[in-house]
């Protein structure tokens, strides 16, 4: 089990990372000159912007260092296992039940109540995203799923569902290409979790 998780962790790192880096702008050459030569300003000691170290080769993407902490072998697979406070878990359960009965308002109120108790609980944000897929609020759902990923500390069991929700949300908004990107990320994570 431990071996499996370690393997998973190692293989997952670049993947997760690639997912996030892919949207970063292409780096430009460092050495930007600040407008020191403004009207009346002496050229003087104008320093480049860019990297902190004078001699560094900054600005170029580098592979991830291997010193990153390995993924915990105890990654929770559900909110019930995540160590969330008891009232938060019971509110999420209430919300699930309400959603099953089509009471979306009630579900939303319970989830928001849960978020007031634990505002940075990634599982609750994800549940809220899922609710807004049901209510066809794509933009809202996408932001909430992204927020879940951002707060979730790189837990693939959590993120796999968030990427699926992002794909759904983008589909709702008519962003096909974006939906496919998200779908691909979801599937990659799915393969890792459940090979």
């Amino acid at each position: 089990m431990t071996r499996l998780v370690t393997a998973l962790a190692v293989s997952l790192l670049p993947l997760l990372f690639a997912a996030c880096v892919s949207t970063a702008p292409a780096p430009v050459t460092p050495g930007v000159v600040l407008p020191g030569q403004g009207p009346g300003g002496a050229p003087g000691d104008v320093r480049p912007g860019g990297p902190i170290m004078p001699g560094g080769t900054a600005g170029e993407p580098v592979p991830l260092p291997d010193t990153r902490p390995p993924l915990s072998p105890n990654l929770p697979k559900s909110i019930e296992a995540s160590g969330a406070a008891a009232p938060v878990i019971s509110l999420v359960k209430t919300a699930r039940a309400a959603l099953k009965n089509g009471r979306t308002d009630q579900a939303g109120a319970s989830l928001e109540r849960a978020l007031r108790i634990e505002p940075r609980n990634a599982w609750v944000w994800q549940a809220l995203s899922a609710l807004h897929i049901v209510t066809q609020q794509g933009e809202q759902a996408e932001s909430e799923a992204k927020k879940s990923i951002s707060l979730g500390k790189r837990n693939p069991y959590l993120d796999v569902e968030s990427w699926r929700l992002i794909a759904e949300a983008r589909k709702l908004r008519g962003d096909r290409a974006g939906a496919e990107d998200a779908r691909a990320k979801h599937e990659e994570l799915q393969r890792l979790i459940d090979p």
Partner: protein
């Protein structure tokens, strides 16, 4: 002739009939909207000290007692509280009254159990505080609906015993009473004696005129009879309990026993004791003559008279009479009951609602409005301004009362306004500086210049070297702009985050010029403010914003770039308790997470080593916070805005006449902010970076990548893919040139 008189009389009666029926049916409609604070959620693990919970209960008008009485009472033990909660119809369903045991201590609540069943309770909530109502500005009638079936028996029987013993047998008027009044009035030569039935009193109240003529009296009698013909006794009595004038609160007229109960005693009528009920029944006779707050002795006499009548009528036992008589009036301490305590917040709620509901719906349909206000946070903020402004004036030798202030506290992730103060007189419902005083924000704008820079990771990171040198900006159509640093000095070159932490103007303007005004404008717009002028002076904060606007843009930073429009309302219900509208969380990613994280990191340095480092004399240094000082020209405005993991707080101090205060952001607003944050018991910022940010161990000596063998190395965040790679000497790299500034900043 006779038939003509008859027709005329019939027409008159018909007119009166229409008038009285219209008026009567409108009683059920002119119900001001009621505004509630957010309910306190109680659950094991909540960081609310038991003492704090006790305060909360007292604010809600719960009575401290030796053994639990009915709902609305509690017993304090060492380490626990027994609470008998009130029933309340929440938006998502009713919660019935229960008796529970809450155990806890200084650090918070440990366990909750149901006293009836002994079962553990996961989560429960207290009834929310009624914080105000929205009543028409003209007439100013305010009331809280009370149903006859829910009114205490003693209130109903007690009123009739004093005001109208034959209520259930007469037909609107009492012949005997009229005869007696007539006799006395005739013998005295003018109209003196009332002797009205409850029905007549209700009619009189409908047309609120104190005019005393025979004609009016006659009209009143006709209308009373008509009323009885159309409506049942109970309907009339219920209308009476809701309509009768019970006192005055400034421009607001207190109508009915429901509102009077909270106005005078800060609790619902069902919880009133005999002596309190007797006071209410007593003042019906003339609330201005018997004003409990202005004439307590006179009112007490009247109350005791009522109690005696009740005892004689057998409504209370002799020993109850004695006990009640011995009680003081027991008016609530605030002088305003539970309502109208937080006018600045209610103004914000009203404004938000006015966009969506016509005035009439707000002031007459009895809507129940559930807001985001946290009474605990609100009172903490109020206490800060009340205590700290006079102290500041004294310490700085400023004229007492010359400073004004405003403050806003929001929840970081939900964007809910939890507290708002619009001026130093927190009970004054006038000019609300938190909403309407738009002033320049000074250096509060700087984080957005740096954010705009950090959004270009190929060009800038938190360690990028900026020059602190003079700059002159050409301004088309006006003279050139040559800003200077606050201390009028130059500080050489420094890393980007040091420039923000020390709030240096020159590197900021140079950075802004390099990026362009547009990019900075966009960063501010991303955070939720759209009226930034297109001028380079915005880099130094030449932007007019109200404290609430500042709270909005800082809230987006606190929420990692996810913008939530600040809100003050959660739900609106009809007066029957049916959900009308929800105001759900709205969140949208408008700023990229990585650069926002880096900006927050740099704003942490403002408190750790920059202009706000004095804050950590007040706040435990283990609590990570981010913020920024703001000072405007001639020291007109002193700002501080900052956040923890759970709260965003903005404080403004200045003068209404735009004179200099002699205060910078660090000497005026910051100390107030720091004490506020300390009192709120906040959670520190989460250090975990988002996925697109990598932390690199940096050697302070060289500014290069360090490893475990480098002493004093610290972690610096970079956007992934843009990290430095050159190794520090201690990590085996070669050093080409010493970097003095780095040693300084890592100290």
């Amino acid at each position: 002739m006779a038939s003509f008189v008859l027709v005329w009389a019939a027409v008159q009666v018909a007119l009166l009939d229409r008038e009285i029926r219209n008026r009567f049916s409108s009683v059920r409609w002119t119900l001001p909207a009621q505004v509630f604070a957010a309910p306190t959620e109680l659950y094991p693990g909540l960081k609310l000290p038991l003492d704090g919970l006790r305060e909360e209960l007292l604010r809600l008008g719960y009575r401290p007692v030796a053994a639990l009485e009915g709902p609305g009472s509690f017993v304090a033990h060492a380490g626990s509280l027994d609470i008998s909660t009130r029933a309340f119809a929440f938006w998502d369903g009713p919660q019935s009254a229960t008796r529970m045991l809450v155990r806890g201590g200084k650090s918070g609540i440990e366990a909750i159990s149901d006293l009836n069943t002994g079962k553990e309770v996961d989560l429960t909530r207290l009834d929310p505080m009624l914080i105000g109502s929205i009543y028409p500005s003209r007439g100013g009638e305010d009331r809280v609906l009370i149903k006859l079936g829910e009114a205490p028996e003693l209130m109903v029987n007690g009123l009739l015993a004093v005001e109208d013993r034959s209520f259930y047998s007469h037909f609107g008027i009492s012949i005997r009473g009229i005869a007696r009044a007539l006799f006395e009035n005739l013998t005295s030569g003018h109209v003196r004696q009332g002797a009205s039935t409850v029905t007549q009193q209700l009619v009189k109240n409908f047309f609120l005129s104190s005019e005393r003529t025979f004609k009016r009296k006659f009209k009143e009698i006709i209308m009373a009879v008509l009323l009885e013909a159309h409506y049942s006794k109970d309907e009339i009595l219920e209308a009476y309990f809701n309509e009768i004038y019970m006192g005055q609160d400034g421009a607001r007229a207190v109508h009915g026993f429901g509102l009077a109960s909270s106005f005078y005693f800060n609790k619902p009528p069902q919880e009133l004791k005999a002596h309190e009920l007797a006071m209410l029944v007593g003042i019906v006779k003339g609330p201005s003559q018997f004003d409990p707050r202005r004439r307590p002795e006179k009112v007490r006499e009247r109350r005791d008279l009522v109690l005696r009548i009740w005892a004689d009528a057998g409504l209370i036992l002799p020993e109850e009479f004695e006990a009640a008589k011995a009680q003081p009036l027991g008016l609530s301490g605030t002088g305003r009951g539970g309502v109208e305590r937080y006018p600045a917040f209610v103004q914000l709620v009203t404004r938000q609602l006015k966009d969506q509901y016509p005035d009439e719906a707000l002031t007459s349909e009895g809507l129940r409005i559930f807001t985001t206000l946290s009474p605990r946070v609100q009172e903490t903020l109020e206490r800060r301004l009340a205590d700290d402004l006079p102290a500041l004036e004294k310490a700085r030798k400023l004229a007492a009362g010359s400073l004004e202030a405003a403050g806003v506290v929001t929840s970081a992730e939900g964007g809910e306004v939890q507290a708002i103060v619009g001026g130093r007189d927190t009970r004054f419902a006038g000019f609300n500086r938190a909403l309407d005083s738009k002033r320049q924000i000074g250096s509060l704008a700087k984080p957005f210049v740096y954010l705009a820079a950090l959004m270009e990771p190929g060009r800038y990171n938190v360690g990028s070297i900026l020059a602190d040198e003079p700059i002159t900006v050409k301004m088309p159509g006006s003279k050139n702009w040559s800003p200077s640093n606050y201390d009028k000095r130059l500080h050489g070159s420094m890393p980007l985050y040091v420039s923000l932490a020390q709030s240096y103007n020159l590197p900021t303007v140079r950075l802004g010029m390099d990026l362009g005004v547009k990019k900075v404008q966009q960063a501010i717009a991303g955070a939720g403010f759209y009226q930034t002028p297109e001028l380079p002076s915005i880099f130094l904060g030449a932007i007019d914003m109200a404290p609430l606007d500042v709270a909005q843009v800082y809230n987006t930073l606190a929420a990692s770039g996810y913008q939530t429009p600040l809100s003050s309302i959660r739900e609106v219900l009809t007066k029957e308790g049916k959900p009308l509208k929800r105001y759900p969380f709205k969140v949208k990613q408008t700023l990229p997470e990585g650069p926002v994280f880096l900006t927050t990191w740099a704003m942490r340095k403002v408190l750790e080593l920059g202009t706000a480092r004095a804050a950590y004399n007040t706040i435990p240094p283990s609590i990570r916070l981010a913020g920024k000082t703001g000072t405007t020209d001639d020291l007109r405005d002193s700002w501080f805005a900052g956040y923890s993991a759970d709260y965003v707080a903005v404080i403004w101090v200045g003068r209404d006449d735009y004179q200099s205060t002699g205060l910078t952001g660090a000497t005026g607003a910051l100390p107030i902010w720091a004490r506020l944050i300390r009192d709120l018991n906040v959670r520190g910022l989460d250090e975990t970076p988002p996925a697109e940010v990598e932390e690199v161990l940096i050697d302070p000596g060289s500014g290069r990548v360090a490893n475990e063998s480098c002493e004093g190395a610290s972690r610096v965040p970079y956007i992934a893919g843009y990290m430095p790679t050159a190794q520090a000497p201690c990590a085996g790299g070669l050093l080409e040139a010493p970097a003095q500034w780095l040693q300084e900043i890592f100290q």
